[in-house]
């Protein structure tokens, strides 16, 4: 049998959970007050250091904390609303931030008092993030930042942003970048909704015009922004859900439900396709369980990148099948009104929305094509395409 490592501190963690619940009865404690107390007890993210919401124990112990607190009816921090803060900003601040930055930002980030967004992509820098051109010019203890960012979800709710800039255009692109924390309420920050094919505006364009950022909000060294950004993106890829999905969780559940309630619409051809997709969805779910078992055994593998490819493909195929299956109903759409949701909700809306929104699954968080490059180079060890931009100063690159 695989040896199941008994990580240090299980008892300590359980004891802390009991103490937290004893001192702050979830039934009578204000939600925010409870969340702050949970953070201060080191039970927010147990793998973070003591004093910063954690206990410095292995990450897998978090599942014990989450399960016990959920069982006790404790409120959570609504992680889907603050995913960028939790998954990207927090680990980056932890790794590169100063002591002051960690103390200032991590607690309200985790409790959701302060929402974060990500100012990375630009109209001219998508998959090639290292070519970003938003200029940061140093002026004494401050930086003056000007440029345009795009695909920024939550920008309209965000208090803070993680921001990648071009601080030196005279060196090759990877070497001239600097990473900042940006105050979204600062003068010169303008957020405009970016309407997408679903009709809503989940994303924004963010225009930065002579925005003043104090040097104390720099994350990492001047010129080291690419390395910091890499760390952020690495965390995006390892962020997986807190618990295993049940069978028929996700898109397959919605489509199977539609199938069961519309017997008259069924055909032999759609039946076989549906079962094929059911099988693949189940295999993807099992791959997720397997990935978790690898993490728990201390042998994490690269399977997560395969899962993202499969997830995007299945979401698109399933939602397309659902619409086709519905026939006449599939000709209708629930609402084209420009709305600005604070999260993605696949299942609160109609199948037409799911079909359109799923198109983004193979683009957001790294396109499926970039992911295939990463798999073939880092997992399979194939050589990269010849690079023409590596040793050229950023300012001389064609754009």
């Amino acid at each position: 049998m695989t040896q199941t490592r008994q990580p240090v501190g299980v008892e300590e963690v359980r004891r802390r959970v009991r103490e937290l619940l004893a001192a702050h009865d979830p039934a009578t404690t204000d939600r925010l007050e409870f969340l702050r107390a949970r953070f201060d007890a080191g039970l927010a993210w147990v793998h973070f250091p003591p004093g910063l919401g954690g206990l410095g124990v292995p990450r897998e112990l978090q599942t014990i904390v989450d399960a016990e607190l959920e069982a006790a009816g404790a409120p959570d921090n609504d992680p889907r609303r603050i995913g960028i803060g939790l998954g990207m900003a927090a680990p980056t601040i932890l790794q590169f931030g100063t002591g002051e930055q960690k103390q200032r930002f991590l607690r309200p980030l985790w409790t959701g008092e302060e929402v974060w967004c990500q100012l990375f992509s630009e109209p001219g820098a998508g998959s090639d993030l290292a070519s970003a051109g938003t200029r940061a010019i140093r002026e004494g203890d401050e930086w003056r930042v000007t440029g345009q960012k795009v695909w920024t979800s939550s920008a309209h709710n965000a208090r803070w942003a993680i921001l990648v800039t071009r601080s030196d255009p005279d060196v090759p692109k990877h070497l001239g970048m600097t990473y900042f924390i940006c105050d979204m309420t600062a003068p010169g920050v303008e957020v405009r909704p970016l309407r997408q094919i679903t009709g809503e505006a989940e994303f924004n364009e963010v225009f930065l015009t002579d925005v003043r950022i104090p040097d104390s909000l720099r994350l990492g060294d001047v010129g080291d922004g690419w390395r910091v950004a890499q760390a952020t993106l690495m965390n995006e890829r390892v962020a997986i859900g807190g618990r295993p999905m049940p069978r028929e969780g996700g898109m397959i559940g919605a489509v199977a439900g539609t199938w069961r309630t519309h017997p008259a619409q069924r055909t032999a051809a759609t039946h076989d396709r549906l079962i094929q997709l059911w099988v693949e969805s189940e295999a993807l779910r099992l791959a997720g369980i397997r990935l978790r078992q690898q993490l728990a055994a201390g042998t994490p593998g690269p399977d997560g990148s395969a899962m993202k490819l499969s997830f995007a493909r299945l979401a698109q195929q399933l939602s397309g099948l659902e619409l086709e299956f519905l026939g006449e109903v599939g000709l209708r759409y629930d609402d084209w009104t420009l709305r600005r949701p604070d999260r993605v909700d696949f299942f609160g809306r109609e199948p037409g929305y799911r079909y359109l929104r799923a198109k983004g699954n193979s683009i957001e968080g790294g396109t499926s094509e970039i992911l295939r490059n990463i798999i073939s180079e880092r997992v399979l060890g194939l050589p990269s395409e010849p690079r023409v931009d590596k040793d050229v100063p950023w300012k001389d690159l064609p754009r």
Partner: protein
């Protein structure tokens, strides 16, 4: 549920893998497949008796190792990786599972010791959920009839024969050679697991089970076989991916390794993606078979319908991405393509497995 490989399983994998690397290289397999001895019986004896692979699914009370489908799955991964010409599937999986289903002690002891090799006398294309085969009947106490496309029959000394008796399904054991039994080799698509046609004209037999028990023994063999074949397909597909990647690194055109072209990289990345899903599905099928989980029929249906096309695609991509060399007899890729395609048909096609799944997962077809 454990979807990883245990230390014991890893150890078994390296024993089998080392043996096969030594005695079953692609060149050796290729050289053998057109001779009059397409099976490597020396290798089979070592694997069955010395490594103990034949005894994995046999309970300790019958001289077996009392291991589980999880270990047998790991052996099949390695056998698939080497397209090894040994009768493990027919003897140690199909016939053994059927015999365990009717507690055939003496036969099982001989199989466990590697002294005997058996196969289940069914068309290899038959899958779980099929009607009980009616090609052989019991008449006057002996067996009469014909069974086509039987895997591993060429080297079996025991046939486990489903037959229809006066009261319905029965299961019989026939010892070979027997003048009343003809085993005719068939020119087979799969060069490394050739099939044969059987004719029984008054063969004497031992009756192992009658109606009820016979059907459930055959069904259990087919379900176990289909679930475990997914692991063979996984190992086979892993070889196809590995050899393709190695070739893409080494082959140069237009002044650079062809593996640096995105058009090719993306295709192998897609194969790798499909293997991540296939591995999870195959492990789950093996795990449920091992523990007798009530979810076994679903797990087997998922693994069988998913892993077949994954293996076929991996083998087809292997041929294509090797370019001209992949089309030659000299390169072993075709052995894998032929095995992959035959495996897709074996023990139920993907479409048949999906049809079986529909009622199990409450997704009924058109009314």
């Amino acid at each position: 549920m454990n979807l990883l490989y245990t230390d014991v399983e890893d150890h078994l994998r390296s024993s089998v893998g080392d043996l096969l690397a030594d005695r079953c290289s692609p060149t050796q397999v290729l050289a053998r497949c057109e001779t009059d001895k397409p099976y490597d019986l020396d290798l089979w004896r070592t694997l069955a008796a010395d490594v103990g692979a034949a005894a994995l699914l046999i309970p300790e009370s019958h001289g077996g190792h009392g291991a589980t489908a999880r270990e047998a799955a790991v052996v099949l991964e390695e056998l698939g990786r080497f397209v090894a010409p040994v009768p493990f599937l027919g003897s140690a999986v199909l016939a053994t599972t059927a015999l365990v289903g009717c507690s055939a002690d003496t036969l099982l002891s001989a199989l466990a010791a590697g002294e005997s090799t058996a196969t289940l006398a069914i068309a290899l294309s038959m899958g779980p959920g099929s009607p009980f085969p009616s090609g052989v009947r019991v008449d006057g106490g002996t067996l009469h009839g014909r069974v086509g496309s039987v895997a591993d029959a060429l080297v079996a000394d025991v046939l486990v024969v489903p037959a229809v008796g006066p009261d319905g399904p029965e299961l019989h054991a026939v010892r070979l050679p027997d003048p009343a039994v003809t085993v005719t080799p068939v020119v087979s698509l799969d060069l490394t697991r050739p099939i044969a046609d059987l004719t029984l004209s008054g063969a004497t037999s031992e009756r192992l089970a009658g109606p009820g028990a016979a059907e459930s023994a055959v069904d259990s063999a087919l379900r176990t076989g289909a679930g475990l074949l997914a692991s063979e397909q996984l190992g086979l597909a892993e070889w196809c991916l590995d050899s393709t990647v190695a070739y893409l690194k080494e082959r140069k055109q237009f002044g650079r390794p062809v593996g640096s072209f995105q058009a090719l990289k993306h295709r192998v990345a897609d194969v790798w993606e499909s293997l991540v899903l296939a591995r999870a599905a195959a492990r789950y099928a093996a795990d449920t078979l091992a523990t007798g989980d009530p979810d076994t029929p679903v797990a087997v249906g998922v693994a069988a319908s998913l892993c077949s096309p994954v293996a076929v695609r991996a083998a087809e991509e292997c041929i294509q991405l090797h370019g001209g060399i992949g089309m030659t007899w000299e390169h072993p890729a075709h052995l894998y393509l032929k095995r992959a395609k035959a495996d897709e048909i074996a023990l139920g096609t993907p479409g048949r497995h999906r049809a079986n799944l529909a009622p199990l997962i409450n997704l009924p077809g058109p009314e």
